[in-house]
């Protein structure tokens, strides 16, 4: 079941489009905003709300990399792995992150705090390497060390 809040937000997005199914991505993002991820059940509920079908909604949900169809941690860390960041030492950054968090890409820390994922170019190539934690962009991480990284992560309980 979608919550009244979710439904209201979806309703609002519906008014922006000539066709209800155009709000599919918004609806997925709204549900994800509230729950962290989009379950099969939520896919079906969104389909009902948009007069669509689960197969139609999931075809969209599974296409976009920022819709999570599996549970994620409280904070998703997206490390930019595109070319400028790579040149500036992204590999080192992600190895460090993996070591500090004890997880690989695609995994979530056992305490459910962080999920680590790669992401493509964050559009901040002049201050590479960069990463997103939640919706915060962190830049200039070329020479970041374990201590600074830990301090950064501390800000995300």
């Amino acid at each position: 079941m979608l919550t009244p809040d979710e439904l209201r937000e979806i309703e609002h997005e519906l008014s922006h489009y000539a066709q209800p199914q155009a709000a599919t991505i918004e609806a997925l993002k709204i549900v994800q905003k509230h729950r962290g991820w989009v379950s099969d059940e939520a896919v079906a509920d969104i389909a009902t709300a948009l007069n669509s079908t689960p197969a139609t909604v999931d075809a969209v949900a599974s296409f976009y990399n920022l819709i999570y169809r599996k549970p994620v941690g409280r904070h998703v860390i997206h490390v930019c792995d595109s070319v400028s960041c790579w040149i500036m030492g992204q590999t080192r950054l992600s190895e460090l992150l993996k070591a500090r968090l004890g997880i690989d890409y695609g995994q979530t820390t056992p305490d459910g705090r962080f999920t680590l994922l790669p992401i493509c170019c964050l559009g901040t190539c002049d201050r590479a390497p960069a990463m997103l934690i939640g919706s915060d962009t962190h830049r200039d991480l070329e020479s970041v060390d374990a201590a600074r990284l830990d301090a950064l992560l501390e800000r995300y309980p």
Partner: protein, 901 residues
């Protein structure tokens, strides 16, 4: 016409077609995947690469996709140019990077478009040295198997399923090289056309599940051209047999009828022919009350001939061929033959025939339906009674988008662009039926009512088209408004179509369908019509004529009859059981000839096992009045232990005649001819297919492929000698590998197979034009020409109904007798139910799923209550023919009670 150049040769071609179609039509080979003649071009697979040159001087050219390239006048192409050749090979190489190369264990192997195209491009050696991606497969229900690892992502499945058939539960998930084609979760594919995925998929992702469960390679199947027996549309099919069993049914392309697609009832309905419990031996009941015992065929015929000396009556069947019905008539005299349907059903058949013959409407083929630009469905749930019509109607509403495409100069074959232009706007389709139908989702407007109400809506439309006609009595404003909308849409359409049929068992509805086309013709429109009779040969038996089943029963009841011969008919599906029981009890002898074990065969004193559709030849007349010949796929008994005494019902009758020193002919042709001579309206049936004497350079047409294997071995467990193959005196086909394979008449092509084209896609080599008629014309002979039009049917005075009214509903899976007997269809068949509106349910304090006792007239039975919100109040919907649902007279008094639990 446009002049184009291909590898230096000039061709005059139709500029509205794309280059790929044209190349194939010219008889050349060009590989493709995502293009499909019915689905058009989307340019996804990049397989159909050719080189296009700017002008005569240009030698470098550029690579283009033939399927996305129009044949503009003066354009120059090369199929053999190095760049194009390299591209085509490379695309296959890429497609194969992830393919499992499991052809030896793949059901598609040997009949695989991917194999063919791979060979065609010359790709042999694998250079990709990395791991392949793998997928999890889904359980998609009883019809279709899923093996995603074989997927080459041509997107055809979703395009057919979603864009062509409007299904919603199959889709593509994921992105980049992790695209996945399936359902959101495991579960039965909902579309009634899901089986077409098996043929639409160019490789082995979607395969025929029942076929896979007892699999035989394509080349080891014995096949013959056949006609689907599961409704009156008469789609053309290829049943394939091995070891005395039908292994699968494939689509047999017919340019005007089924085209490339069948419904799932047609594809999977064959399993009754393989039933263990089928009558296989002649059985005789020595005396009343005794158990029937196996009897030698000679002795069986002797008893029958003796009984024929008594006062005899025959009952034919609309699910039997014209020839079977004819044989009965010839044996005992036409005047003593009844046509095997109840009085009210016979009247409907006669009425349909009358409207088709006398009315001004063209009878729409399936292709014509697809082109209709305004459609009214009056009373008929075509999704259940003639599903191929539903699929065609789904195309008809796209006429609007095609019109927009024409106006924007976007080629019609550029499918996604046409969709983009059309958006959700559709050509008008109106559905007036008692309950919701699957077509409602694409309908401009729907109307719900009892048959009398639907007839009144029809009458109002007639009035609006032709003011000389009276208004309909007692309509509310909404309905009058709807009638206006419909009348306007029909009048302003270029190709208006009226669809009705026997489904709601209402003469009034049919008459209004007839009246509407008459009124449209008066108004200057050129209407066409589809009237769907109930069964595969309803129209044929109506043309043969004869009195109805009630008349026969009356005679029996009055003690005038000693012996009754029933041919391929379960009378218990036609008249209430109580009456039938009593009548049959009055007979001395009941002879039943049938391929099914039915309540009627249980009563037989003499039961003669008949061949199924796959073991017989004959002629059926479909809803269009098209006589079509279907051919015996295999001879019962050719595989030792499979046959018993099974033979064609007409052959039993013919042998009985012989025994009685009579002569009703010896071959199928004799019966076809006799039938044709009996009635000028049937004269053309002899031309439905060439006769048994037909030869090509002195040779017959082989039912077995060039590569048929194991012929000498398959009976070796019983006899190490290779038996002589069965001989066929009835058709030009042979139970053999040897014979003629080129230039076959379209009605007698047993398989579409062509050098380099091992899958069903070989059909392009047999067509006059892609998607058009087969070479030499599509199979069958149209028997009915529309009349000059003329008078309207009169309406009886209207009386508002009293009390609960019984109305027939229909199920695609379950309502039809033959298909319902197969396990695959049975899995999709609902349990016996009756349906009422929520309001009506409330009046009896009943809920969805409650057990209820239903009483209609004298008949009482238990059912589960279904709440069908679309049904008008006061109507009891009864699913006709569904297992567990008895025969009732719908005009009888109806009551319904919750069962004491």
């Amino acid at each position: 016409m446009a002049r184009i150049y291909i590898d230096g040769h000039a061709f005059e071609v139709d500029p509205s077609r794309n280059l790929l179609e044209v190349v194939l039509e010219l008889g050349q080979d060009l590989p493709y995947f995502c293009w499909h003649p019915a689905l058009g071009s989307v340019g996804a697979c990049r397989q159909c690469a050719v080189t296009q040159f700017r002008d005569e001087q240009d030698t470098r050219g550029k690579v283009v996709m033939a399927c996305m390239t129009p044949c503009t006048d003066g354009s120059r192409f090369s199929l053999q140019h190095d760049d194009a050749v390299e591209m085509r090979e490379a695309v296959v190489e890429l497609l194969m990077t992830n393919h499992p190369h499991d052809c030896p264990v793949c059901e598609e192997g040997g009949s695989c478009h991917l194999q063919d195209m791979t060979v065609m491009t010359g790709h042999n050696y694998r250079r990709y040295r990395y791991n392949k991606r793998t997928h999890r497969n889904q359980d998609l229900g009883p019809f279709v198997s899923h093996e995603m690892n074989r997927c080459i992502a041509c997107y055809r499945c979703v395009r057919f399923y979603r864009e062509y058939a409007d299904g919603t539960d199959l889709n593509v998930f994921g992105a980049h090289n992790h695209v996945y084609f399936g359902r959101a979760s495991d579960g039965t594919l909902e579309s009634p056309f899901s089986g077409n995925l098996v043929e639409v998929c160019p490789t082995g992702v979607f395969t025929d599940k029942p076929y896979g469960e007892s699999y035989t390679r394509k080349w080891d199947l014995q096949q013959a051209p056949s006609v689907c027996h599961h409704c009156a549309v008469g789609c053309n099919i290829f049943p394939g047999e091995r070891y005395g069993r039908i292994k699968r049914v494939e689509n047999r392309y017919h340019g005007a009828l089924n085209g490339y697609f069948l419904c799932d009832r047609g594809r999977y309905g064959y399993q009754h022919a393989n039933a263990e419990a089928r009558p296989r031996t002649a059985m005789l009941r020595e005396r009343p009350g005794a158990e029937p015992q196996r009897v030698a065929t000679d002795a069986a015929l002797e008893s029958m001939v003796t009984w024929l000396q008594t006062r005899t009556l025959g009952i034919g069947s609309p699910r039997a061929s014209l020839e079977a019905n004819q044989a009965l008539r010839a044996l005992i005299g036409a005047e003593r033959c009844h046509r095997g349907v109840a009085v009210q059903d016979a009247a409907l058949d006669d009425l349909m025939l009358q409207i088709l013959r006398q009315g001004p409407a063209q009878i729409a083929s399936i292709t014509d339906i697809e082109q209709a630009d305004a459609v009214l469905i009056l009373g008929e749930d075509v999704s259940a009674t003639g599903a191929r019509v539903e699929l065609a109607l789904r195309q008809s509403v796209r006429q609007h988008a095609l019109g927009l495409a024409d106006a924007s100069k976007v080629p019609r074959w550029q499918t996604h662009s046409v969709q983009l232009l059309g958006q959700d706007a559709r050509s008008p389709l109106f559905v007036a039926t008692p309950a919701a139908t699957r077509l409602d989702g694409i309908a401009s407007k729907t109307y719900r009512g009892a048959p009398q109400d639907i007839a009144r809506l029809g009458q109002e439309i007639v009035h609006l088209l032709d003011y000389t006609q009276p208004r309909a009595p007692g309509l509310d404003d909404d309905t009058i408004h709807l009638a206006h909308t419909i009348a306007e849409a029909l009048k302003s359409a270029r190709r208006p179509l009226i669809v009705s049929g026997a489904g709601c068992a209402s003469a009034a509805v049919l008459q209004e369908a007839g009246n509407i086309v008459t009124a449209l013709a008066h108004a200057g429109a050129a209407p066409s019509i589809v009237l769907l009779p109930a069964e595969c040969n309803s129209l044929g038996t109506a043309m043969l004529g004869g009195a109805d089943l009630d008349a026969a029963l009356t005679q029996i009841e009055s003690g005038e009859i000693d012996t009754l011969i029933v041919v391929e008919n379960d009378l218990y599906r036609r008249v209430p059981a109580a009456r039938l029981d009593a009548a049959l009890a009055r007979l001395q002898h009941l002879v039943v000839i049938d391929a099914l074990a039915t309540p009627t065969t249980q009563r037989a004193d003499l039961l003669l096992p008949a061949g199924s559709f796959a073991e017989t030849d004959g002629t059926l007349v479909n809803y269009e009045g098209r006589a079509q010949r279907y051919f015996q796929v295999f001879q019962p008994g050719a595989y030792v232990g499979s046959g018993g005494d099974v033979r064609e019902s007409w052959r039993w009758l013919q042998q009985a005649a012989l025994q009685a020193q009579g002569d009703i002919g010896t071959t199928l042709d004799d019966l076809t001819r006799a039938c044709a001579h009996g009635d000028p309206a049937l004269a053309a049936i002899v031309d439905a297919a060439p006769n048994a004497g037909f030869r090509i350079t002195g040779q017959r047409i082989p039912r077995q492929s060039q590569r048929y294997s194991g012929r000498t071995a398959m009976n070796a467990a019983h006899d190490i000698h290779e038996p002589r193959p069965p001989q066929d005196a009835d058709t030009p086909l042979a139970f053999s590998m040897e014979g003629a394979r080129v230039d076959l008449p379209s009605a007698e092509i047993p398989i579409f197979w062509y050098p380099r084209w091992n899958s069903g896609h070989a059909v392009n080599k047999f067509q006059q034009e892609i998607g058009g008629p087969l070479r030499g014309g599509d199979p069958g002979e149209r028997l009915i020409v529309p009349g000059a039009g003329g008078s309207y049917f009169e309406r009886p005075p209207w009386r508002p109904p009293q009390g609960l009214q019984a109305v027939w509903l229909h199920e695609l899976f379950g309502s039809e007798e033959l298909s319902a007997r197969g396990p695959a269809i049975a899995e999709r068949t609902p349990a016996a139910y009756v349906a009422v509106s929520a309001q009506t349910a409330a009046t009896m304090a009943a809920r969805e799923g409650d057990a209820v006792q239903v009483t209609v007239g004298d008949v009482q039975w238990p059912a589960a209550l279904r709440i069908e919100t679309s049904l008008p109040d006061g109507i009891l919907g009864i699913p006709r023919g569904l297992p567990g649902v008895p025969v009732v007279l719908t005009d009888a008094a109806v009551s319904i009670q919750r069962s004491a639990s």
